[in-house]
Structures are given as C-alpha cells and as structure tokens.
C-alpha cells in the first residue's frame, strides 16, 4: 500500500517539472498562479479591457459611484477607476520585472564568480554587499529621485541594484557548497571547462532558490514602488496602483472605495507572489524530505519493514513481557521486546528497533555491536528517554532498577520518570565530543551546573568536585581546562570532559554511544582505559554502543549483536569472539583488521608519482 510513496522517493533528483507539478497540486500555489495569471492578462490586454484612456478625465462626473459607464466609478478628477486599475497592473508588473531583472543581472553573475573563484573579487564584492545591505532602501530611492527625476523605471533600476545582494549571497553560498562536491571535481578532472561546469552543474543547483527569491523580490518591488507612488513621488502622468492609493487616501472621507481597489490589487499581487514563493519552497523541501527518508531507509535496509501498526502483534509482544517480568528486578536495566518506530507520511510506521531484549547488571559492561543503521543508538536513546520527538515506542518495555521507565503498552518514554533518573542515575557519553559541549559556556560551567541541579550541592562544592573529576579523567591542568571554552581544547580532551560529566553525579548506569569513534587512534586507547578504570572503581553498569569489535573485545563482559533493528546474537564476549554462531556476527568479525596480513599496494609508489 505504500508502494506509491516509495516510488516518488526513488525518482531521486528533483526534476523541475516535478516541482511545477507539486506547486499546482498545492492549493496555495494554484491560487497564487491563478491570481498572477489574471493580473498578467489585465496587463497584457489593458488596451482592450480598459474602456477609457488612463488619463482621460471626465470633469462632469467626479467621484462618481459605479455605473454602466464607469465599472468602478471615477476618481476626484473624473478618471475611470477600472481603466486606471488595468493600466496600473501593466506599469506595476513591468516595473517589478525590471527590478528583478536588474537584481538578477547583477547578483547572479557576481555571485557565480565570487563563489566559484573566490579570491579578491569575492572580497570586494562582499564589501559592496555590506554597504548595499546597510542602506535604508527608500531613503536611497528618494535621493535617486532627487537626482534623476520622477521615473518609475529609474527608481526600479536603482531598487534592483539595492536588492542584488540577495541574489549574490544566494548564488555565492550555493556555488561554494557545490564547488567542493566530488562530482564537480570529477567534472574538472574530466577536462570540462569552467564555463560548462558552471552552466551544467552549478546552474542547476541555484535555479530553484532563484525562482523563490524572484517571487519574493517582485513582491517587495511592487510594495516599494507603490509606496513611492503613494508618497506622490512618481510620474503623475502614469497610472499606477500607488498613485491611485494616494488619490484614494486624499478622498478617504468622501469615497473610501477609491482606496479599496488599489489596496486590494496591491495586496493580491504581493500576496500571490509570496504564496507562489512559499509553494515552490514547499515543493522543493518536500522532495528533499522524501530523498532523506529514502536514504535512511536504505541505511537500515531490509529489516525496517514498513508496517501499519498491527495491534495483534503489539498485543502479542505485551503478553511476552508479562511472562518474563517477574524475578528480573535485580537487573540494573532490562529491555524486553523493545520496538521503536517512526510514523511516516503515509500513516505506516517504520520500525528501526524491532523486538530487542537484553539486560545489564551492576558492574557489568555490555557491548551493543552493529553497523550504522542497525538500531543500536536508537535502543540506547530509548533507555535514556532521549529519542527524537517523532519517535514512538511500538512495543515492549524498559525497566531500570526494578521500575518501568517504559511500561508495556506505552507509546512514549515517560519524561516524568526519566527526568528523575537522567544525570543522577543514568548518564551518557556521546560520540562526537565537540558538538556535545555548548560552545557558549565554559567547560567548568558545564560540569558544575549539573551537579548543582542534580545533587543539590553548593557551587563551591561542585567546583571542588569538578576539579577532582578533571584530574581523575587524566587532564593534567584541571584549572586551565575548567576555565576554557570548548573550542579551546582538543577533541580527546573534550571527550575526557564529557566522561567526567557523565560520572560527576555518580550514576549507576553509563550509556556510551561510540565514545571513541571520533578520536585519534592513540587517544582511543586512553579513553577506553579510562572507561574501564572508572567502571571498576565505581562498580557501575555500562552499555557501550559501538561498531568496532576491537573495542568490544577490549572492554566488554557480554555483547549483543544487532542487525537492521533486530538482535541477532547475544552472549559472553569470549564465546561470541571465538564461536560466533550467526553469519552476520561472523562477517563483522572477519572484517576486523586486527591480526590480518598487511595488504600489498595497489599502485606502486612510482606510478603514483607519475599520476601527480
């Protein structure tokens, strides 16, 4: 039943026709396009649609009410409101297009060059952009008008120049991000000229954002142009919506409808452009979302079956929980038939953890091993109660020290229960040390605050303990590290800090999610030694999530192997290492590098030199 969705995801690269299709299917996009179509028709067929000349004044009937002759009445000098509205559409739309064209004409090439080649041009362009961006638009336009006279077109050219930084920045950022992509390198190596790389690879990237930007720019241009005309600074012989608005405002006590029509026209035009921009953006983001989901699905491959929530299955799982439960209170953590899933757009739930059971005791290190996408981190985060907001527990239970944190049948991890445990009894060592410290606060602050909040001790006391912790985790100069900001220490040091933080409130369970993956090999061994040391000293239980059997054999007492969300094998670490039963475990073990013959070089050193 979910086939259709799968297929749209598989089309991969978002094609432009695809986007247009989506915009048309979005009611907002459709309405916006319809309004714009009407306005464009008015502008193109103005000579046919307007019964009078825009400046023809029938002095006999001023401020007249609508009648057969004057569809929307007349203004204070007897000009036909409908005719002026239609001719106004022409001027307004043309001026918006002119403005956008000028802005694109300057911003796009400059952005391409600055983004692709960088260097001096980038610097100079950046300086101009900063100046242009810090100018209040209308003041500049007033000055331009003082210099060159009241022409709509000159104002719009000037405004286009003022808006060109938007395109410049957009193009420059897109180009910069693409420039270093591998396929662009490949194209360069293949001998494509810069020009064809830009037109073929880079242009396709900036095209969509530029369409969005143009819709927005046209909207802004229309409102600014109308604003200038409203101020009475426009050319009085040209009918524009702004002039009409100004005329209406002067007669607001006599005939308020004079104000209504141009205001409606401006509102509709600007609104339609904004809606169109949003619809295109939504269509593009939708495409990206599908792509992203596709990628995640690919990562976790076949086990992530798409199932509509099957009540029977869930109930069955619950039944199993009830049977296992009694007599397991002594386990520090017990995970029973756990299932974690993410609801999809089509209403099904994609399972990333499926029927996983294991337990950890005090003083024990359990390894959870598997490739990325095997569900091992999701399992760990369910115990911590830190799954993303969209995640659902689709089956099973988790108990900690004899109490449920996720009782059978519950859909979400109870934050109320876990808030009391997190930090105090369960703690966490993350994978990537740098991104897990708040860059805006000192390391000391980030160590002290949890202790003050969780243990209720004074700041001075907590500071003393933090110093001790820092030297415990092998940091040579605790004072200096305490006062440092995260960006001032190395990755290995930051990981030690995070480990210090994890043990600061004397937890019973530490969950370490790939604690050494992001570190240099030499630091890895140190950090593993540290975890083992602490675990023995404090007699805590540890769940170590990793893809590395080397780490497991070094550290763990028992190990569970996960593949595609399921548990495939469990046992004491020696048994699993010596006699792996499951073929997947065997494969993982055989892919280890330890104890293997060094490989011979594929290309000889001299050949490599020749390539260079």
């Amino acid at each position: 039943m979910s086939q259709a969705v799968e297929l749209t995801g598989q089309t991969g690269v978002v094609v432009r026709s695809h986007v247009i299709h989506k915009v048309l299917r979005n009611p907002m996009g459709l309405i916006a396009l319809a309004i714009l179509a009407v306005l464009v028709t008015m502008a193109v067929l103005a000579d046919v649609l307007a019964p009078f000349d825009e400046n023809f004044a029938d002095i006999a009937s001023t401020l007249a009410a609508p009648d057969a002759n004057h569809l929307l009445g007349t203004d204070s000098v007897g000009r036909d409101v409908w005719s002026r509205l239609v001719f106004g559409a022409r001027t307004t739309l043309l001026s918006a297009l002119l403005c956008a064209a000028v802005a694109i004409g300057i911003g796009l090439p400059a952005g391409l060059v600055a983004g692709y080649y960088g260097g001096k041009f980038d610097g100079i362009a950046g300086w101009f952009v900063n100046i242009l961006m810090s100018l209040p638009g209308i003041i500049v336009l007033l000055t331009v008008r003082a210099a060159f006279g009241p022409s709509v077109w000159i104002s719009m050219i000037a405004f286009g120049i003022l808006l060109s930084p938007g395109y410049f920045r957009l193009t420059r950022t897109s180009v910069q991000s693409v420039r270093n992509e591998l396929y662009v390198d490949a194209a360069r190596v293949a001998g494509l000229s810069d020009r064809s790389i830009i037109s073929r690879h880079i242009f396709s990237v900036v095209r969509a954002p530029i369409i969005i930007q143009t819709a927005m720019v046209c909207g802004v241009a229309i409102s600014v142009q109308s604003g200038l005309e409203f101020l009475g600074l426009g050319d009085p012989t040209v009918a524009t919506w702004g002039v009409m608005l100004s005329e209406g405002f002067k007669n607001v006590y006599l005939t308020p409808t004079l104000l209504l029509w141009p205001a409606v026209a401006i509102g509709l035009a600007v609104g339609a452009l904004v809606l169109l921009g949003n619809a295109v953006r939504d269509a593009l983001e939708d495409g990206e979302k599908v792509k992203q989901r596709k990628r995640k699905a690919a990562e976790s491959a076949s086990a992530t079956e798409r199932t509509t929530p099957a009540p029977a299955k869930v109930r069955q799982a619950r039944g199993a929980v009830a049977a296992v439960e009694s007599g397991t209170e002594h386990h520090l953590v017990k995970v029973t038939n756990l299932g974690v899933g993410y609801p999809q757009a089509d209403g099904s739930i994609k399972k990333v953890v499926d029927d996983v059971s294991f337990h950890v005791d005090r003083g024990e290190i359990l390894g959870i091993v598997g490739e990325s996408g095997s569900g091992k981190s999701q399992t760990a985060f369910s115990i911590l109660g830190l799954l993303p907001g969209t995640a659902r527990i689709v089956g099973g239970s988790i108990q900690f020290d004899g109490n449920y944190t996720v009782a059978p049948g519950e859909e979400k991890v109870s934050q109320e229960r876990l808030t009391k445990l997190r930090g105090k009894r369960i703690s966490y060592i993350p994978q990537e040390p740098m991104s897990n410290l708040d860059p805006a606060f000192t390391i000391g602050y980030q160590l002290v605050t949890p202790m003050v909040r969780v243990l209720g001790i004074s700041k001075a006391e907590a500071t003393k303990r933090a110093m001790k912790l820092l030297s415990d985790v092998g940091i040579a100069n605790p004072e200096r590290t305490f006062q440092a900001y995260p960006h001032e220490v190395s990755g290995g040091m930051a990981q030690r800090v995070l480990i210090a933080g994890a043990i600061s409130c004397e937890p019973d369970l530490i969950i370490a999610d790939e604690p050494t993956t992001a570190l240099d090999v030499t630091v890895q061994a140190d950090v593993l030694d540290l975890i083992r040391d602490l675990q023995r000293r404090l007699n805590v239980g540890v769940i170590l999530v990793t893809h590395n059997f080397g780490v497991v054999s070094d550290l763990c007492d028992r190990v569970v192997v996960m593949q595609n969300g399921r548990l495939v094998e469990e046992g004491p670490v020696r048994t699993i290492l010596r006699e792996p039963k499951d073929p997947y475990t065997q494969m993982l073990l055989s892919s280890m590098l330890e104890g293997k013959e060094p490989m011979t070089m594929l290309v000889s050193a001299s050949a490599k030199e020749a390539v260079k």
């Binding site: 900063n130 100046i131 961006m133 810090s134 100018l135 209040p136 638009g137 209308i138 003041i139 500049v140 007033l142 000055t143 331009v144 003082a146 210099a147 060159f148 927005m216 909207g219 229309i222 409102s223 109308s226 604003g227 409203f230 101020l231 600074l233 608005l245 607001v252 006590y253 308020p256 104000l259 205001a263 401006i266 509102g267 600007v270 609104g271 904004v274 809606l275 911590l384 830190l386 808030t419 997190r422 930090g423 105090k424 703690s427 966490y428 993350p430 990537e432 897990n436 708040d438 860059p439 805006a440 000192t442 605050t449 949890p450 909040r453 969780v454 900001y485 960006h487 933080g501 409130c505």
Partner: protein, 313 residues
C-alpha cells in the same frame, strides 16, 4: 576587544565617506536649476547667477564636495537652501519623533517575536501554525497598506486615535503616545510576523543540536536548557534579523510618517528630496547611515559578547 571596536568604527567611517561622496555625486546632476527654483520664475538672470555663486554652485564638483565635507567634519552641515534653517537643527527637532517610533517598535518586535517564535518551536501544534501562517500573511501585506487600513479603520471609522497627529517636541507624553501608537502598531505587526518565523527556525535548529541532548542527559531542567542555552545560541540569528528590520524600518517609516502626518525625519526626507535641497538631503542621508553603522556595531558587539570565540580573540 578594543581593537575589534576600532576596526569596526574605522570600517564604518570608510562606508560613511563612500556613501557621502556617492550621494553628493548623484545629487550634483539635480542641481542645475536649483537657484531658479529657489528664487522663483520672476528672478532676473543676474539674481540667479548671484544665488548660484552664493550657494557655491559655480564651483566644480570636487571643490563643492570638499567644501561640504570640510564643514561637515566640524559639525557644520550648512543651512537649508529653501528655509535657511540650519540642517543640524532641522534634523534635531525631527529625530526624536522618528527614533521614538522606530525604537519602540523594534523593542516590541524583539519581545513578541522571541516569545511567539520560542513557543512555536517548543510547543508546536496550533501556535506553530499561527506563527507560520502569520509569517506568510505578514509578507503578503505591504507595511504601508497595512498602515492605511489601520488609519481608515481605527482613526477615521472608529475614531479611537487621532488620524493626523501634529506632535511638537515639547508636547506632553500623552500626546506623543496617542500619536505614535497606531504607527507603531503598523510597524510592529509587519515586523513580528517575519521575526517570529525566523526565531522559530533558529530555535528549532538549536534544539536539534547534539549538545542539547547531552544537557538533557545530564539532568538539567528543560526550562533552563531552553532559556539559558538554546535561546542564547539562537540569539545571534535573532539579532541579525532585528538589525535588518531596523534598517528596513528607517526606510519604511518614511511612508508611515506620511500616512500619519508625523513630522519626523522621513517627512524631512520627502520634502528635501522633492525640492532638491541638497544640504538637507545630505544631512538626512548622513544621519541615516550613522544610525545604521551604530546599530550594526551594537549587533557585532553583542554577538561578540555572546560568542566566546570572538570574545577571547
């Protein structure tokens, strides 16, 4: 830090000089008929020539610019060609009105956008939909059209506020409040809708960062994570948005002042540019650019203070 400020101020001065020259250069083209305009149709050719000499219009452009710049550095911006009022005085009497309006509006926007954006990002649900829809509606209605609607509705139809205010600098606070409320509302509505949306995305981006999860794992209360860590990390984005809105407002206020008949700087800008009163135009442009430079400097300073990487170096 001091070096950082000095560098920023120096960069600001360069920009100021560049813009002054550019503006002066642009206005040069408009000054051919100015003496005749000042004196009226019936002035004799000699009178016009004499006036031109008096205004320095017979000098070449570089000489005129240097003369103007030399006086400006000493704080003497000249006098209006048409009214003879010193430029500095003309600006000083109007500046309080515009600045009160714009600063009040930007402060309100800052508070409202932060509250709404945070609520939308954290609570999601209906308030999120309101903020997102509001952002589109706010984009779709130009600020001055909104102002016109407000005037028509609240001042002309319901008569809750004065439609055309004539506030003097020495008028009481209540007169100012009555005159500025509606224009401020017009500016605020337009700013808040976009601002809240930007704060929302910035907060959501921060909430997804790894360190937020780690803070949660450490047992830090959710409220503290939100207000101390997330809000602080989202602040630079919010400040940048606010500074851009402030700059935009200095322009937008020109039309707003016209609609509400406020005698502010915007009003002066329209008058002086329509007549080609070069000393006044230059004064208005200089004042605007200086304010923009000050705002940008403030934002840089606050961001530097928020970001330890900049602070330390």
């Amino acid at each position: 830090m001091v070096q950082f400020i000095i560098r920023k101020i120096a960069a600001g001065l360069v920009v100021l000089c560049a813009i002054s020259f550019l503006t002066y250069f642009l206005l040069y083209f408009s000054s051919s008929n100015i003496a005749r305009n000042i004196l009226g149709e019936y002035a004799s050719q000699e009178q016009v020539a004499q006036k031109e000499t008096e205004l320095g219009l017979d000098q070449p452009l570089p000489a005129r610019f240097l003369d103007w710049a030399g006086h400006s550095i000493t704080g003497d911006f000249g006098r209006s060609w048409f009214t003879g009022e010193p430029v500095a005085t003309a600006i000083a009497t109007r500046l309080p009105i515009t600045l009160t309006l714009v600063i009040a509006a930007i402060l309100l926007i800052a508070v409202l956008a932060t509250v709404l954006g945070m609520a939308a990002a954290v609570k999601r649900g209906w308030i999120d939909r309101v903020v997102q829809t509001g952002a589109i509606v706010g984009d779709a209605i130009p600020g001055f059209v909104l102002a016109i609607i407000l005037v028509t509705l609240f001042a002309i139809q319901l008569k809750l506020f004065p439609a055309t205010s004539s506030i003097a600098p020495d008028a009481g606070a209540s007169a100012w409040a009555a005159s500025l409320t509606l224009p401020a509302i017009a500016l605020v509505i337009n700013g808040v809708t976009g601002g809240a949306q930007q704060v929302r995305s910035a907060v959501i981006k921060q909430l997804e960062r790894d360190y937020v999860r780690t803070l949660r794992s450490r047992g830090i209360p959710e409220r503290e994570i939100l207000f101390k860590h997330v809000l602080r990390s989202a602040a630079p984005t919010g400040l940048t948005v606010l500074s851009l809105q402030f700059i935009g407002m200095l322009g937008g206020v020109v039309i707003i002042e016209q609609i509400f008949a406020l005698p502010g700087i915007g009003n002066l800008a329209v008058q002086s540019t329509t007549m080609g009163d070069i000393p006044l135009v230059m004064g208005v442009v200089l004042y605007t650019v200086v304010i923009v430079i000050i705002v940008n400097l403030l934002v840089d300073l606050i961001n530097g203070w928020l970001n330890p990487k900049v602070r330390v170096s």
